[in-house]
């Protein structure tokens, strides 16, 4: 008799026992609390959808949801406008410069959440560098305490999630196609639009969905840089839980955010973006999904 080969073992095997600790931890800390939250949101056994209906009729939640969606959309557009050219140039430079640009992309991952938000307070505060800069032009603009300030800070930390899937998509494109198009008499911009852009679209869609999705859940940045008068959905969720003690309402809102997030992530997955981005997340600790 030869010894069982662990790699070829089929059927119910003791290998599944190795999953027990991780699954137990996950069940206790993730699935059970989220399950209880779901249970509370549907009336603890009385089976009602009132708490969900209330989200759409209380007048506050819908406005906050709309503001969150608009903020996330603006962050996504900024990240795309800055991230696409950055990723494009990354594919064009030599290997050493590419390494430098990659390290710079990863810096927001490395910077501690609280350190980064503190720095943004310093930069955006009244009498701070940005305020002084605007005053040179006679403008009295204070970004601290506004959705605009939150947007600036969120775009910075989410840019890597745009650049990395884009870089992986763009570096797979054969640039000789562009040379061929130009050799056939095409204007460079037309060649870009007709050839390069369509080939990059998978990475673009993945990056857009990823950044938009991650924007929806930010808590610390809007809480510190924004204003309570213009809160985003994560703040509303926290406030319902700790201040209003409306656990059922918070459960319903939390479930809504969670379902939207998971649907969007599954969608981004179809474009191959999320898996590679999560790989990167694991390759560099991401700090602020906050």
């Amino acid at each position: 008799m030869n010894t069982p080969d662990p790699a070829r073992w089929r059927g119910p095997s003791p290998r599944w026992l190795l999953l027990v600790p991780a699954l137990a931890l996950l069940a206790a800390i993730l699935l059970l609390p989220l399950g209880q939250s779901l249970f509370r949101s549907v009336g603890q056994g009385d089976w009602t959808l009132d708490h969900y209906a209330r989200l759409f009729t209380d007048g506050v939640t819908l406005r906050v949801l709309a503001r969150t969606a608009v903020t996330a959309a603006v962050v996504t557009v900024i990240a795309f406008a800055l991230g696409y050219p950055y990723a494009y140039v990354m594919t064009r430079v030599g290997p050493r410069m590419r390494g430098v640009l990659l390290v710079i992309v990863l810096i927001p991952f490395w910077t501690s959440v609280m350190a980064r938000n503190f720095a943004w307070i310093v930069i955006l505060q009244r009498e701070g560098p940005v305020h002084s800069f605007f005053r040179l032009f006679g403008l009295d603009v204070v970004l601290y305490g506004s959705v605009a300030g939150v947007t600036v800070a969120m775009s910075q930390v989410l840019l890597p999630f745009m650049v990395l899937p884009l870089f992986s998509a763009l570096s797979g494109i054969d640039r000789r196609l562009l040379l061929a198009a130009r050799g056939l008499g095409s204007h460079p911009l037309v060649a870009f639009w007709k050839i390069y852009w369509p080939l990059s679209r998978g990475g673009v869609v993945a990056g857009l969905i990823l950044v938009f999705t991650l924007s929806l859940g930010f808590y610390v940045t809007p809480a510190l840089l924004g204003s309570p008068k213009e809160s985003l959905v994560a703040q509303l969720l926290g406030q319902r839980t700790t201040q209003l003690l409306d656990f059922a309402g918070a459960g319903a809102l939390g479930m809504l955010v969670l379902v939207v997030t998971l649907v969007l992530v599954a969608w981004a997955n179809r474009f191959g973006g999320t898996i590679s981005a999560i790989g990167v997340v694991a390759a560099a600790p991401v700090k602020d999904r906050t």
Partner: protein
């Protein structure tokens, strides 16, 4: 070897990166590192506010950080929680990666997705759910509560890094070891573990840093008797206006950057 390099150089000569693209990339790069650039100068300020540019030059904020009991206790709590959470996450995550290695069935795929789910769950949704459940289980404000919650979010990082380390692992070594009479656990200790040690170490460090820097769940689990460093930093910009956060920030940023650079360096040396 020479031919492709020459063609690359020629490519760049014919089709160089225009100057305006270089400037654009430099500006975006600056935006990436902007917050980091502000943290360190702020930590030497003598002002009692967050004013910028910082006034004077002193080590007062560092002195404050290392002598103030509130800051020191928070730092100690953070290190304790992060160590225990990383330990738990590393054991559970490594075991899971070994268990799932080379399994391709539907159940295995489901288990893998399930284990990764915390990475895409918005921190605030998780924090709120965990907070309410922990209230009932009397875990709010306890080391156990913090460690369990942080270990759960650390598992995916360990799973990913150990799984990728197992990618280059030859399963015939297990058979060789078994045929030489080693029981499975001995095989793990003497064969598997040394070969995937870098993956385990990387995962453990990521789990540690994730816990050490986690703030959303920590904010909900805090109690007057127990809070972590990020929570104290949060208090120092919301409740108290305490510039000691600048010293704390630059210490954390420096430490994390050092760890990441060491990790990169170790990784590269092992590979070559």
């Amino acid at each position: 070897m020479r031919a492709p390099r020459r063609s690359l150089r020629r490519d760049r000569g014919v089709d160089p990166v225009p100057w305006w693209q270089k400037i654009f990339v430099a500006v975006v790069g600056l935006y990436f590192i902007l917050p980091t650039l502000f943290v360190i100068p702020m930590s030497f300020s003598t002002a009692s506010t967050f004013q910028f540019p910082p006034r004077g030059f002193s080590l007062k904020l560092y002195e404050n950080f290392f002598t103030n009991q509130v800051w020191l206790t928070s730092l100690r709590n953070s290190v304790l929680v992060a160590l225990l959470a990383a330990l738990l996450a590393t054991v559970a995550g490594t075991a899971a990666a070994l268990g799932l290695h080379r399994l391709t069935g539907r159940m295995a795929r489901f288990a893998r997705t399930l284990l990764m789910v915390s990475i895409v769950t918005p921190a605030i949704v998780l924090a709120v759910a965990v907070y309410i459940s922990f209230l009932k289980w009397h875990l709010v404000g306890t080391v156990t509560g913090y460690v369990l919650a942080h270990a759960a979010i650390g598992v995916p990082f360990v799973l990913v890094s150990v799984t990728s380390a197992l990618g280059g692992f030859d399963p015939r070594l297990l058979r060789a070891s078994a045929s030489l009479g080693a029981p499975p656990f001995r095989t793990f200790l003497r064969v598997t573990m040394p070969l995937i040690s870098r993956g385990i170490l990387t995962g453990a460090i990521f789990a540690f840093v994730t816990s050490f820097d986690e703030v959303v769940i920590a904010l909900f689990l805090r109690a007057p008797g127990f809070q972590t460093l990020p929570v104290q930093m949060y208090n120092s910009v919301t409740v108290e206006i305490d510039p000691t956060i600048a010293a704390s920030s630059s210490l954390v940023v420096t430490a994390v950057t050092a760890v990441c650079l060491v990790l990169q360096f170790v990784g590269r040396r092992r590979k070559s």
